[in-house]
């Protein structure tokens, strides 16, 4: 049994345990934190989600919640519904499912409710426009869909998405190191429970900054009303730049209302419980929608400057799917390795025994990651 300590990197360890079918034990989960000892509600919720998409797994949680033993079952897929707690955005729960879905017995059809956009987890818009195209590159392509039927802004959420993912027998080997040049920029500015004008103003500000480089910039506005607008007001912008070789570089930002400094109302309580928000360094309370648009556009330029074929928030998927790929040399170019990806590489080594060759390209400060895939095969999927 593999052993880990601490609450960090919880999802990737459970995900890797599931695909590699290896039991794990995690100890010292916030054992030093007197106020929030043990598993957080979103971590417990993620464990329940794993129970739903697999069959035969066992989860033992210690009385204090500081230790978890997880013995994975068979990845089933099929129709699943999950209500994500508002403490984390839907992206927290959906990200690992994107990696798990292709290896199920049945195509995954999951409906999730909760917060669709925030500044901690990757938004459902980024998952749709960034991660799904990457999945296609690895051979997961027919019937792949992510529908955002309701928006849910933080803190209360109330959004709803539907994700459908086909099963594959094996991933395709990928060698993707040509960055190409940026040929178009797409984006989505959503607004819910605020004036639709907010989305338009976000679009104007971000477009204005990006059209100096290229005319093909289109930012859609997506305004939600009535039953589809969730429980909190909010707006956000997601931008994706696409190159001639299909590399995708993204940036996103969501408006975050400033927390009341005084007051004891119940709303305050739910807000302070939002996991991860205390980790944010920047202030995302923008005085005007133009500020949010400019901020996001600048973040996109920053990401374009970093380069790579997989941007910061999709690095983990590229790394994981290379490791799970066929027994062939896989190779990708990424922007500077993020701390999250570095730990992913270590955990991949622990679970799958795969070590990447990591070569910095000093000509443009990117990194080339090479590995021999593990030849992972979905035995539930019959050869066509």
């Amino acid at each position: 049994m593999l052993r880990f300590e601490g609450h960090n990197f919880f999802r990737q360890r459970l995900l890797l345990a599931t695909v590699s079918n290896r039991p794990i034990r995690i100890d010292k989960i916030r054992s030093d934190d007197e106020d929030n000892t043990g598993l957080a509600d979103y971590e417990a919720s993620f464990l329940r989600l794993l129970e739903k998409v697999t069959n035969g797994c066992t989860i033992e949680i210690s009385y204090t919640g500081t230790s978890v033993v997880y013995r994975p079952g068979v990845i089933m897929g099929g129709k699943v519904r999950h209500d994500c707690p508002p403490s984390r955005a839907i992206g927290y729960f959906l990200e690992p499912l994107i990696a798990l879905g292709p290896f199920g017995k049945h195509p995954l059809q999951v409906t999730m409710t909760g917060v669709t956009n925030d500044n901690v987890d990757v938004s459902v818009d980024s998952i749709r426009t960034l991660l799904l195209p990457h999945l296609k590159r690895f051979g997961v392509e027919d019937d792949l869909e992510l529908k955002i039927s309701k928006r849910g802004a933080a803190p209360k959420g109330g959004g709803e998405i539907y994700f459908r993912c086909p099963v594959v027998r094996q991933l395709k080997a990928v060698q993707f190191i040509e960055e190409g040049q940026i040929k178009r920029i797409r984006g989505i500015a959503y607004a819910t429970r605020v004036s639709p004008q907010m989305a338009n103003r976000v679009v104007e500000a971000s477009r204005g900054m990006l059209t100096r480089y290229i005319p093909d910039v289109y930012v859609y506005t997506d305004v939600y009303k009535g039953a589809e607008s969730g429980m909190s007001p909010g707006y956000a912008l997601t931008l994706v730049a696409e190159t001639t070789t299909g590399a995708l570089l993204s940036a996103e930002c969501a408006f975050q209302p400033r927390r009341p400094t005084t007051g004891t109302d119940v709303d305050n309580e739910t807000e302070s419980k939002r996991g991860g928000e205390s980790m944010l360094v920047n202030d995302y309370h923008f005085p005007t929608p133009e500020d949010l648009g400019t901020h996001t556009a600048r973040r996109l330029l920053q990401e374009i400057k970093k380069g790579g074929c997989f941007d910061t928030s999709s690095q983990w998927l590229g790394v994981l799917f290379l490791a799970l790929g066929p027994e062939d040399v896989g190779k990708i170019r990424v922007s500077a390795l993020s701390p999250f990806t570095i730990q992913y590489l270590r955990d991949i080594k622990a679970f799958l025994g795969i070590t990447f060759k990591i070569t910095p390209d000093h000509s443009n400060q990117t990194v080339i990651l090479t590995c021999l895939g593990s030849g992972y095969t979905n035995t539930s999927k019959k050869v066509a």
Binding site: N8, I214, G275, G276, R298, S313, S335, P360, V367
Partner: protein, 95 residues
């Protein structure tokens, strides 16, 4: 002025990722990095959270990385904006 790991001069990335003493991202290791202060009476131990833009969201189990505001402010300058032109198909071939 990039905070990426690849830019730190001549860091061996293989060692950084797989080395025996990898930069530990685990919060449980706070005790070892001296971020703890004893108060005079010795009764209480004050824990100081290490705040690092690069790491904080990884500690929250999220793949996003926040951008430092000083890194973003450089995009207010015309010269920085122009430096990126070569990355677009609209760029004129260097003459």
């Amino acid at each position: 002025v990039n905070n990426g790991f690849a830019l730190k001069k001549r860091v061996n990335l293989m060692d950084l990722v797989y080395g025996d003493n990898p930069t530990d991202l685990n919060e449980n290791n706070e005790d070892s990095d001296g971020s703890q202060v004893n108060d005079e009476s010795g009764l209480f131990r004050v824990r100081k959270a290490t705040r690092n833009t690069d790491r904080s969201l990884a500690l929250a189990d999220a793949c996003k990385v926040e951008a430092k505001s000083e890194d973003l402010n450089q995009w207010a300058e015309e010269s920085t904006l122009e430096s990126l032109r070569g990355r677009f198909i609209t760029a004129q071939p260097a003459s």
